[in-house]
Symmetry: C2
Subunit: 250 residues, 2 copies
């Protein structure tokens, strides 16, 4: 097992960090890693907002409904950025609607996610803990305003990193046989049956994590987390349209 | 500089691989890494289709218009998978449209991308070369049919890996000052001016890569690659709707 894979298999979400900024030389390395990440067609259709202003951190934590977000020593928000290349084309008199269509939006979304994960692995290799904040989509529009994101850009995911101040257990994952299929999608007769053991494993995991806080099995969590909307999550598609992306309806 | 970051800074796309399958023990490690990747809310809304059938590889290469895709020893297609959790909820009599809405689609898209990048870093740490295939979106619908993807699933990106059979140069990236901004998006007065040096660097890179094959500077490539559609790329939004995802229009 090499060092990299050891780190990757050891991944867990760290929510609480020591109140200590990261040294400049580490930040530089981490930013270089982000910048070297693969991107669709080499077009680099993503950008990153680095949040150092405590007021903005507080506002994001409020939108995200996760107050520990305030205390992330280093906080980056990865965004789709079709604006930059659109502007370049525009200066050349060559811009068009294809450049800001759904296909390109997905390219930029992919670019932003790949960069975020590359950053997370690099940060963990330096001993930092990491936390993804999907909670920025609790109110995408507010985040757009807060970070002054121009049209043709869109927030994707936030990442907080710092020196861990907690040691959580590894969180069990669904068996990979349920996720990887050869040559075509495989349906199961009963999914409840297929995840039965995993449901039990997750229940035990939560019981051990905090005996006083009752947390549900995986299947019950699906209903709780996936079948309900918190805050303004239903507005994410509206926010997407408001950012000026063009949907090609054929 | 630790090993992981060294690998990440050394990333380049490998298009040609040695005709040699990967040993089982490496594949197992790589699959474990995929499975341990962070996911939105722990919901694991992604799946992976492993393409081992040469006929399917050939068809994908044809759709992708990149014939070297046929020769990827190991080929994975990462997909959004809201189907699995929807089915679990359905068996519990608790399914609803929120579970297959745009917000959850984006969660699954993010999950799939994070897993893909984690896989790429792990593969490179084992000495393999990697290649992202965004080209599956040249005809998303055809890929959906080919891989028998059910509703509430959607192809995101393909990844080919294997022992490298070429040694390409590192591809220069746009200066990070153009991509990372403190506390809010920063606009530039002239983007053509801002990328002037990078344009020159890219021109030199391409000239050195293949003196006989004239490739354009970055700005000209934007116009070529971003402002035009190949094949059926305009149909990607239609394919998205056809997969049954529900757009909440408020």
């Amino acid at each position: 097992m090499n060092e990299t894979i050891k780190i990757q298999l050891n991944h867990r979400t760290i929510r609480e960090f020591k109140n200590q900024p990261l040294p400049k030389e580490d930040l530089e390395k981490l930013h270089d890693v982000i910048n070297m990440t693969a991107s669709s067609n080499g077009m680099q259709n993503y950008s990153v907002i680095r949040v150092t202003d405590q007021n903005i951190k507080n506002e994001l934590a409020e939108i995200g409904l996760q107050e520990y977000m305030r205390r992330a020593p280093e906080l980056l928000i990865f965004i789709v950025d079709l604006y930059r290349n659109y502007k370049i084309a525009q200066e050349m008199g060559k811009e068009n609607k294809i450049m800001i269509g759904f296909d390109k939006f997905m390219q930029g979304f992919t670019d932003a996610c790949l960069a975020a994960q590359n950053y997370v692995v690099a940060a963990e290799s330096l001993g930092y803990g990491t936390n993804y904040y999907g909670n920025i989509h609790n109110d995408t529009k507010k985040v757009i305003d807060l970070l002054k994101l121009p049209k043709y850009t869109f927030p994707v995911v936030g990442v907080g990193i710092g020196i861990p101040n907690q040691k959580p257990q590894l969180k069990p994952r669904m068996p990979f046989e349920l996720k990887m299929f050869d040559n075509g999608y495989k349906k199961f007769d009963s999914y409840l049956e297929a995840i039965k053991d995993y449901d039990q494993v997750m229940q035990t995991y939560y019981d051990l994590r905090d005996a006083n806080k009752r947390v549900d099995s995986f299947s019950k969590q699906i209903v709780k987390k996936q079948a309900s909307l918190i805050a303004n999550r239903e507005d994410v598609y509206k926010a997407f349209l408001d950012q000026g992306f063009v949907i090609n309806k054929n």
